[in-house]
């Protein structure tokens, strides 16, 4: 993930000991209306979480490239002035397409602030 300039821009960090769990600190850079996260920043964070999970599923050795096909985000709650967590789950890894879900939450994983579904094209070398 450290090789993705956009992930660094957002301030996304990996949680040590859990390869697919990420955090997003609350800061001006991700602020929407006063006191709340910007929907675009939440969506972007979910995309990073989905990509990290997919790369993990493909394996670090893999030289496969992935291209996003589409993304659907549901915004369920406002993102408040506190850290956000995010995790992607690969629901199917095929030879050409991968389906990935990602959720973001703040206090309780059972109360997500947003959830995304992404489809990726896998281009194997």
């Amino acid at each position: 993930m450290d090789d993705i300039p956009y992930a660094r821009f957002l301030g996304v960090a990996a949680v040590e000991g859990d390869p697919t769990l990420l955090t997003l600190p609350f800061a001006d850079i991700v602020l929407g209306r006063p006191g709340f996260l910007h929907g675009g920043a939440i969506g972007g964070f979910l995309e990073v979480a989905a990509l990290v999970a997919l790369r993990h599923a493909l394996g670090i050795e893999s030289d496969a490239r992935v291209k996003p096909i589409n993304l659907t985000v549901d915004f369920m709650r406002g993102g408040r002035d506190k850290p956000t967590f995010g995790r992607g789950i690969v629901t199917r890894l095929g030879t050409r397409v991968a389906n990935v879900n990602a959720t973001a939450w703040q206090d309780d994983p059972a109360r997500p602030i947003a959830a995304a579904r992404m489809n990726y094209l896998i281009v194997r070398a």
Binding site: D3, I4, P5, Y6, A7, R8, F9, L10, D28, I29, V30, L31, G32, H38, G39, G40, A41, G43, G44, F45, E47, V48, K67, P68, I69, N70, L71, T72, V73, D74, F75, G78
Partner: protein, 143 residues
């Protein structure tokens, strides 16, 4: 004929977006109509998602379309009303061309009592060669 400017003031909009996520992404106002708004996202190295090829990440494009669509809702309403994005779907038709400014146009095609429906496209110079299409809904939060 003079264009319909409704209640929208682009200078005030840009002043209001001089903080937060939109300003850090460097969004610029381009144009608007009675039910649409067009914003620009200039290319920047720190927004890259694919370092090998220098392609912009999809996140900033999603944020651009969210912001342009939200603005389109306010324009169609002709007034400012608190709203939250309910869902946003984006099809990445092709990667953005490295070095090029991405232009996002959001349109609000229907408003009901509680919900506003939007659609939009993003391109990097030629509107007939879009790089992304979006569809989404906003919910009014003052009900």
């Amino acid at each position: 004929m003079t264009p319909d400017l409704t209640a929208f003031d682009s200078a005030a909009f840009m002043a209001a977006s001089r903080s937060g996520h939109s300003s850090f992404l460097g969004f610029e106002y381009r144009a608007h109509g009675a039910d649409w708004a067009e914003l620009a996202l200039p290319y920047r190295a720190d927004l890259i998602g694919e370092p090998e090829r220098g392609v912009l990440a999809s996140g900033p494009i999603l944020a651009l379309m969210d912001t342009a669509s939200a603005l389109a809702v306010q324009l169609k309403l002709g007034t400012s009303r608190p709203q939250a994005t309910l869902d946003l779907r984006i099809d990445y038709v092709r990667p953005a061309s490295p070095g090029k400014t991405v232009i996002g146009r959001g349109e609000c095609y229907c408003i009901t009592r509680a919900i506003a429906f939007v659609r939009g496209t993003a391109h990097d110079g030629d509107p007939d060669d879009p790089l992304a299409n979006v569809a989404g809904t906003f919910m009014f939060t003052d009900l």
